[in-house]
């Protein structure tokens, strides 16, 4: 297992380098300019000087190598400096966003908390709703509950978040007035009241995302349970006189969870990626909103850095899913 993990980690390095180059070229070759949001009243020569000040007029490979140096040397060293008070990165240029002139990693640091809180909670809520629905739907296949669960999953799958989110806003915020629609990122939880405030402002985005997440996972859970319910070992367990509860929850569920856990693990990078539409709709302003904002503004350093971090996370969680799979299923061995 250890050699397998090491081999995969080493192999990841060239893969990630190639990915970084591909992302950089894609982002750079895409049409558009960092000046596209500047009003037309700014004349062309001033625009040109602004582009030069950003360094955006440099050849593409110069900018790529600079980015590599900043990402793999300057930024980690800045982190080390921050921890130990050293000065490895003193005077070195960090990766700056073209749009805001702030260091990209500072922006990511500001945004990760709300993305993890909102999107992470939604993922968790989605799993907690989906697993019981999947189990019971499979156990009572074609019952009214199963039909209702299928309907729920179909709605979750087919209704896009920009629609369900707006619908929730109109019902719960405009008509009923229960929840706020704009997420206050400056809110600090210090007492019961602010905690309630946090829960209230999370309610709508979590509901919107949770519905979509639960739909997908409940279908995986149901079909995995159905596969196992028909197995011989289930009949054996029943023949031995075990209670239904033990059969379903100990024997069938544990075996059925293996593929579901993999699906869940593979979905985790998407938590860090944020939820572009939902974050924008509710003003959560996490990573997803940062990415789409940077794409609109042609903020290449920001897009490049975020896209690369997502690539790293996806490679990493693929490996983690493989390892978990091996741990859960004794039949699978990598050595």
């Amino acid at each position: 297992m250890l050699t397998f993990t090491l081999r995969r980690l080493l192999l990841a390095i060239p893969i990630l380098l190639v990915i970084s180059l591909v992302i950089f070229l894609l982002v750079d070759l895409a049409p558009g300019s960092p000046m596209s949001e500047i009003p037309l009243t700014v004349p062309p020569d001033v625009r040109q000087r602004m582009i030069e000040a950003l360094g955006a007029d440099q050849p593409v490979f110069v900018r790529y190598l600079l980015w590599l140096k900043q990402f793999f040397w300057v930024e980690p060293m800045t982190l080390v400096d921050g921890w130990f008070g050293t000065t490895f990165a003193a005077g070195e240029q960090r990766i700056l966003s073209w749009q805001s002139r702030s260091p990209v990693f500072t922006i990511i640091g500001q945004r990760i908390p709300q993305t993890l809180t909102v999107v992470g909670t939604a993922y968790l809520v989605g799993i907690l709703i989906a697993v019981p629905i999947g189990i019971y739907s499979a156990y009572r296949q074609y019952s009214v509950f199963d039909q209702a669960g299928t309907l729920f999953a179909m709605i979750g799958f087919s209704v896009p978040t920009f629609f369900s989110g707006t619908l929730f806003i109109i019902i719960f915020a405009v008509w009923l007035g229960w929840f706020p629609t704009k997420y206050d990122t400056t809110l600090v939880v210090t007492d019961w009241d602010s905690f309630v405030q946090r829960i209230r402002q999370m309610a709508l985005p979590v509901m919107t995302l949770g519905l979509a997440n639960a739909a997908a996972i409940s279908r995986y859970m149901r079909s995995s349970m159905l596969d196992n319910m028909a197995m011989d070992y289930v009949r054996t367990a029943r023949a031995k006189g075990m209670s239904e509860r033990v059969v379903v929850l100990r024997h069938v569920l544990r075996n059925s969870l293996i593929p579901v856990v993999t699906v869940i693990a593979l979905g985790i990078p998407s938590i860090f990626g944020g939820a572009i539409i939902t974050e924008n709709l509710f003003g959560v302003n996490g990573i997803g909103a940062a990415l789409i904002g940077a794409i609109h503004a042609n903020d290449i350093p920001m897009v490049q850095t975020l896209a690369f971090i997502f690539a790293v996370l996806i490679v990493l969680f693929n490996l983690i899913a493989d390892i978990i799979y091996g741990l859960l299923d004794p039949r699978i061995r990598y050595d």
Partner: protein
């Protein structure tokens, strides 16, 4: 009538009453929301309106502009004029006197050195200052004494109120930005995000493209203002969401730029929590006519250049016919509602600068058809498309991807089709269209189409620099890397000559007269530019927020110090 006036007066007195005895910081928090989040609080490093408006709550210029477009002193004792001796007789220098005892929010004194430094900061060639035009033509800025600033120009300057005027050109604190000159400008993250200013508020927290938290400036020059103790600008979402949180849920007090369809405006107003306010500046949605041939058969580098005049649109009769066929009031009704009005002018305001040009306001389909017949474009083969010398009347009409613009395209296509014109529509991503990348065929400067539609405006009430764009020399062409503001490649010696006189004319009435003539030359006299809609900026404020005076000539938040909570 008298009774109504009395009622209005009483209502006004009632609304204004709380302001009269308000004290600083007694009205709690004012919450603003911008559909585009604030990226940076230093307007010199951003050109985005969102950043300029947000920073105007903190940083202030020497003088600002009122909603009527009139100069109003902010950090100075009075507006310098020739009469009070503030402007030299030969118009080559202007002298500003700072208010006595003026302090930055950190308690230190504002001095003339800060203004001198601001000029140096924005004119440093390595700094990439986005407001460099505000400081153009200045040879020196001197601190005559601690509170006197003298700006000297390279020649007589008809409009000397550019440097240090309006939210686009505020004063920076020398102490804070001293280490941020030139190439170092973007690296000063803290200063750029939390500038020290003289405005009614100061920044207490800043998260990029998300939230700006502010508190009342304890050293603000008026001890009774601002009425609010804290202020927050939350960014993100879209125009409709921003309007909703003010007009329907009441979570926010003010939403900037809530450009939403007229029917949604009406239904949100019906909720009774707030109101839309609109300010008309000079923003005009227009169709630009290409005077050069964009044909793809021409070699690259000659396409859409002065070498090849446009085969169809070079004829003024065709251009006039296309304009006559458009019903501008329907366009306003469909796209903008209260946020727009029909116009025939490139310079629709302020009133003193706008030409009395309303010939285009009524649609004249028959007149348009007659003009095309006259020009020799007739439907000889009976396919519904006019033709001349065997060539059909085909027009490629491009604009950006935007729901309102696509509605406009569809409506105008219908009218032009009725006229017997074959119209092909094209919609381009705004990032590409306005991006100015010389390698892309789809920028508005390259203009590889017959007509294109977008909006443009003059950033100051005096349109001198705005009108300068139609000079021959500003035509985008391969030699200029396809940069330039004369999109139509319009080129007449008369225009250039008259524009040259504008730059040297100092009498205000004469300037207005010249501006009107220039406006007419590109619109009704030549139909090179076909204005459609005079667009306002539409914002929304809650009924619980008083004192809002929306402004098209300066930051919309120009009088945020006077805002108060209606109780």
């Amino acid at each position: 009538m008298k009774f109504k006036t009395a009622l209005l007066g009483a209502a006004a007195a009632f609304v204004l009453a709380p302001a009269a005895y308000a004290e600083r910081g007694t009205d709690g928090e004012v919450k603003l929301t911008f559909p585009q989040a604030v990226s940076i609080m230093n307007p010199y490093l951003s050109g985005g309106t969102k950043d300029i408006y947000a920073s105007s709550m903190v940083l202030e210029p020497l003088a600002g502009l009122t909603p009527e477009g009139v100069l109003v002193p902010k950090l100075v004792t009075e507006i310098p004029t020739k009469e009070n001796g503030g402007i030299s007789e030969d118009m080559t220098s202007i002298t500003w006197k700072l208010l006595p005892d003026l302090k930055w929010s950190d308690g230190t004194a504002v001095t003339a050195d800060d203004a001198v430094f601001t000029w140096q900061y924005c004119t440093d060639p390595a700094g990439g200052c986005s407001q460099a035009t505000k400081y153009e033509g200045i040879t020196s800025v001197e601190a005559v004494d601690a509170s006197t600033i003298k700006v000297t120009f390279s020649g007589p300057k008809a409009n000397p109120y550019t440097a240090f005027v309006s939210a686009l050109a505020p004063i920076l604190q020398k102490k804070q930005f001293e280490a941020c000159l030139g190439a170092a400008a973007p690296t000063c993250t803290d200063a750029n995000n939390m500038p020290v200013g003289t405005g009614p508020f100061m920044v207490t927290g800043f998260t990029v493209n998300d939230t700006v938290s502010m508190a009342a400036n304890p050293n603000y020059r008026d001890p009774a203002k601002p009425a609010f103790a804290t202020a927050v600008i939350k960014g993100g979402g879209d125009a409709e969401g921003s309007a909703r949180v003010v007009m329907e849920t009441g979570e926010f007090d003010y939403a900037w730029n809530t450009q939403i369809p007229p029917d949604t405006q009406a239904s949100m107003t019906a909720a009774g929590k707030g109101q839309f306010v609109v300010a008309f500046g000079t923003l005009v949605e227009r169709i630009e006519m290409n005077t050069t041939d964009p044909s793809p058969d021409l070699p690259e580098g000659e396409r859409s250049t002065a070498k090849h005049p446009h085969p169809i649109l070079s004829d003024i009769k065709v251009r006039t016919a296309l304009s006559k066929a458009i019903d501008r009031s329907i366009l306003v009704e469909v796209g903008y509602g209260a946020g727009g009005k029909p116009t025939c002018n490139v310079i629709p305001g302020p009133a003193d600068w706008a030409s009395a040009n309303d010939g285009c306001l009524t649609q004249d389909m028959e007149g348009a058809k007659a003009l095309l017949d006259e020009a020799g474009w007739t439907d000889t083969d009976g396919d519904g498309i006019r033709d001349k010398d065997g060539k059909p009347l085909n027009i490629l009409y491009q604009t950006t991807v935007n729901p309102i613009r696509q509605d406009f395209q569809a409506l105008i296509k219908d009218w032009w089709t009725e006229l017997g014109v074959n119209v092909e529509l094209k919609a381009i991503d705004p990032g590409v269209f306005f991006g100015g990348d010389p390698g892309s065929p789809d920028t508005f400067q390259k203009f590889y189409a017959d007509v294109e539609m977008y909006a443009n405006n003059s950033e100051s009430p005096d349109p001198e620099s705005y009108l300068g764009q139609y000079q021959c020399k500003n035509a985008p062409r391969p030699e200029t890397q396809w940069q330039g503001e004369n999109i139509n490649r319009f080129c007449t010696p008369e225009y250039d000559a008259l524009y040259a006189t504008l730059a040297t004319t100092t009498d205000i009435a004469a300037r207005q007269d010249i501006a009107k003539k220039l406006n007419d030359m590109v619109t009704k006299d030549s139909m090179i530019v076909v204005p459609l809609v005079h667009r306002g900026t539409l914002s929304a404020h809650s009924n619980a927020l008083g004192g809002v005076q929306i402004n098209a000539w300066d930051s919309e938040l120009w009088n945020v110090a006077d805002w108060f909570r209606v109780k």
